[in-house]
C-alpha cells in the first residue's frame, strides 16, 4: 500500500487520519485518500453538492456493504447533505411476479430491503421519493450546478452531471461516493480537473437523420471506452438549444455510452456547457477521430447478441425507462402508443408494457388524471423500480423481455429494439 501521507492534506484531514475523530471516520478518510493517491490526486476538495448513492438494494449477500453502513450508524456519522439513491428493486403492484418470484425476491435476493432503507435514512437519505437513477430531474431535485464538485456513482447519472450540467464528478464506485459524503471531501483527479475533461476523441456524426440516442451512445461507448469524446454534427440534428427535449436525448445517449463503454463525460459541439465555451479547444493534441454514419450505426445494432434461447419467443414484458424517464418522455410515450394504436386499429397494448420513472415524476404524471387514465387505459403500467434489479436473478432472466434501453440490454438478457420497433412490437405482441 502506498504511503497515505504523500497527498497534500489539511491539518484537519491529517488529524482524522490519526483517528482523532474516531476509528470509523479514520477508515473513511483512509479509503478516499488511498483512492485519490492511486490516480495522482494532489489534494482533497470539499464536496459542494449532495451525493448520489448507487447501492439502494438490500441484498443479504452484500454483507460488507451492510456492515459498513452499520459502522457509520454506530459511529453517529451521516452525510453532510441529504442524498439520493438508485431505484428500489421491487414493486409487485405494477411489475408482474408470480408466487415463487415474490418469495425469492422478498425472502432471498432482496430480503433485507426494508431494514436497509431504514439504515440509509440514518446516514442521510433524503426521503422515500429519492429512489431513482435520474436524480438530476427537476421533480427529484438533486441538480448540481455547473462546475460544482461532486462525488456520485451510478454511471448514467455521472455522465449526465458531467456532460449536460457541467458539474464535476469522477465515475466512482458504490460506497466510495458514500465515504466521500461522510468525510465531506473528494480526491481531485481525472474528470474533476480541467486537463481530465479534455477530449481524446472527435466523434463526427454524419447520419442523414437524428440517430436513435441509445444506439449512438452505444457506438460511442464501445469506441471511446472510458475516454472523453467530443461529438460534432449532432447540433445540426438536435438544434442549438439545450432544452428539455435535447436534455432527454442526451440523457439516454449518455447512459448507453456509459454502460456499453465506460464514458463518464462527453462534449457535444454547440450544446453542452463546456463545448459551448471552448468548442474544439477541448480536443487534446493527437486526438483520434471516429466517423459515425448510418452504416456504422446499423453495424453496431446488428452486432447485439440475442440472449434468448428462443429468438422468436413472444415478448412477456416490455421495459421502457432505463435510465428513468423524464415527465416529458412519459407524455411522449403516451402519445406514441396512442398514435400507433389508432393507426393499427387497436385499443390495447398486447405486451405488458412498464414505464419506469422516479417516484416524483410518476406522482406528477398521475396527478394529470386525464393522461394517467389514458395510459392505464391502453394497458401500460407505471413503476419506479430499477428494471435491471428486476432482471438480475435466474427466474426473471429466463423471461422474454424487450426494452429500448441499451443499458438494460448490456447487463441482462433483455432484447433491445428501437423506439419505433418496440412500439410496434408492444402493440402486435410478437417480434
Amino acid at each position: 500500500m502506498q504511503n497515505i501521507y504523500s497527498m497534500q492534506l489539511t491539518d484537519e484531514e491529517k488529524a482524522i487520519l490519526k483517528g482523532e475523530q474516531g476509528e470509523v471516520m479514520r477508515k473513511a478518510m483512509e479509503s478516499i485518500v488511498l483512492y485519490g493517491q492511486i490516480f495522482g490526486a494532489k489534494r482533497l476538495a470539499p464536496i459542494e453538492g449532495s451525493i448520489h448513492f448507487v447501492m439502494s438494494v438490500g441484498m443479504p449477500i452484500f454483507k460488507p456493504v451492510v456492515s459498513l453502513v452499520d459502522e457509520l450508524i454506530e459511529a453517529g456519522l451521516r452525510t453532510s447533505k441529504p442524498f439520493t439513491a438508485d431505484p428500489r428493486p421491487m414493486d409487485f403492484k405494477n411489475v408482474p411476479a408470480n408466487f415463487l418470484e415474490k418469495f425469492i425476491f422478498k425472502k432471498l435476493i432482496y430480503g433485507i430491503q426494508a431494514q436497509y432503507e431504514e439504515k440509509l435514512y440514518k446516514i442521510g437519505l433524503k426521503d422515500d421519493k429519492s429512489f431513482t437513477c435520474a436524480c438530476y430531474l427537476e421533480e427529484v431535485g438533486n441538480i448540481p450546478l455547473k462546475g460544482q464538485v461532486l462525488a456520485w456513482a451510478e454511471s448514467s447519472a455521472v455522465v449526465y452531471a458531467n456532460s449536460v450540467l457541467g458539474a464535476r464528478t469522477n465515475r466512482n464506485s458504490g460506497l466510495l461516493e458514500l465515504l466521500c459524503g461522510i468525510t465531506g471531501r473528494v480526491p481531485v483527479f481525472s474528470l474533476m480537473t480541467d486537463e481530465g475533461r479534455m477530449a481524446d476523441w472527435l466523434i463526427e456524426i454524419k447520419t442523414k437523420t437524428l440517430p436513435e440516442a441509445q444506439i449512438l451512445g452505444s457506438a460511442i461507448g464501445m469506441k471511446a471506452m472510458e475516454d472523453v469524446p467530443y461529438i460534432s454534427g449532432l447540433d445540426s440534428l438536435l438544434g442549438n438549444e439545450l432544452n428539455h427535449s435535447v436534455m432527454d436525448y442526451l440523457k439516454d445517449m449518455g447512459a448507453a455510452a456509459a454502460s456499453n463503454g465506460a464514458v463518464g463525460l462527453y462534449h457535444v459541439e454547440g450544446l453542452t456547457p463546456e463545448a459551448v465555451n471552448m468548442s474544439r479547444g477541448l480536443l487534446k493534441q493527437g486526438y483520434r477521430t471516429y466517423v459515425i454514419d448510418d452504416a456504422e450505426l446499423k453495424k453496431v445494432y446488428d452486432g447485439y447478441p440475442v440472449m434468448w434461447k428462443n429468438h422468436l419467443a413472444k415478448p412477456e414484458i416490455c421495459f421502457i425507462g432505463c435510465p428513468h424517464l423524464s415527465l416529458r418522455q412519459m407524455y411522449e410515450w403516451l402519445e406514441r402508443f396512442e398514435s400507433e394504436l389508432k393507426a393499427t386499429a387497436n385499443t390495447k397494448l398486447a405486451v405488458t408494457t412498464i414505464l419506469t420513472a422516479a417516484p416524483a415524476v410518476v406522482n406528477a404524471f398521475t396527478k394529470d388524471e386525464n393522461a394517467y387514465s389514458r395510459l392505464t387505459g391502453i394497458g401500460a403500467r407505471l413503476t419506479s423500480i430499477c428494471a435491471l434489479m428486476y432482471m438480475n436473478n435466474p427466474l426473471c432472466a429466463r423471461k422474454a423481455v424487450i426494452t429500448n434501453s441499451n443499458k438494460l440490454r448490456t447487463y441482462t438478457k433483455a432484447r433491445y429494439f428501437t423506439d419505433a420497433e418496440i412500439t410496434a412490437i408492444a402493440i402486435r405482441g410478437g417480434i
Binding site: Y35, P64, E71, I109, S155, G174, L176, M225, A262
Partner: protein, 151 residues
C-alpha cells in the same frame, strides 16, 4: 528466472507476494456481470458468468490471478469485489496491463481497509504483458511490482 519465463514490472497498488494460476481477460472485465450469478447462488468457488467475455466465460475466478486491461460496467463494481473478497471468493490478485480504473481501485481499497481482505494488485504492466500471458500459466508476484510468467 529460467529461460522459459519472462519478467514484467508494474506499479504496486496493493502489495503482496504470491504465486498462482493466470486467468486472462483481453477485453474489459465486467465485475458485476462476471460475479453476479455465483454471488446470488452463494457459491464458494465463483466462475465467470459474463457471457460477453468469451475469454473467461465459465472459468474459475476465485483464488486465481486475474490478468486484465481494466474493469468495466456497473459502478457497483467496487462493492462487488469487496463482497466476493469477504467470502474468500475473489481472485487472489489482479494484474492490470493498463492503469487501474476507479471501480477496481475502490474495490481493492474497500476490501483492504474495511474487511482486512488483501487482493494483491499491480497495474501498468503494459500491453505486452497481456499479449504474452496465457490462460493457466503459473505466475509469481512480488512486493516490488515484479511479475514472473512461467511458460
Amino acid at each position: 528466472m529460467t529461460e522459459k519465463s519472462r519478467e514484467f514490472k508494474g506499479r504496486v497498488v496493493m502489495a503482496g507476494h504470491l504465486s498462482g494460476e493466470a486467468v486472462v481477460s483481453h477485453g474489459g472485465f465486467n465485475t458485476l456481470a462476471s460475479f453476479q450469478k455465483d454471488m446470488i447462488l452463494r457459491k464458494k468457488i465463483m466462475k465467470c458468468s459474463d457471457q460477453n467475455n468469451t475469454d473467461i466465460f465459465g472459468k474459475v475466478l476465485s483464488g486465481k490471478i486475474l490478468c486484465l486491461p481494466k474493469t468495466i460496467g456497473s459502478t457497483t463494481g467496487g462493492l462487488v469485489l469487496q463482497t466476493v473478497a469477504s467470502v474468500g471468493a475473489a481472485p487472489a490478485a489482479l494484474l492490470f496491463s493498463e492503469e487501474i480504473d476507479s471501480l477496481a481501485a475502490a474495490g481493492v481499497i474497500l476490501a483492504d481497509v474495511w474487511n482486512g481482505n488483501r487482493i494483491v494488485t499491480i497495474d501498468n504492466l503494459g500491453a505486452e504483458f497481456l499479449a504474452y500471458v496465457q490462460q493457466g500459466q503459473k505466475l509469481d508476484i512480488f512486493d516490488d511490482g515484479r511479475v514472473i510468467v512461467h511458460e
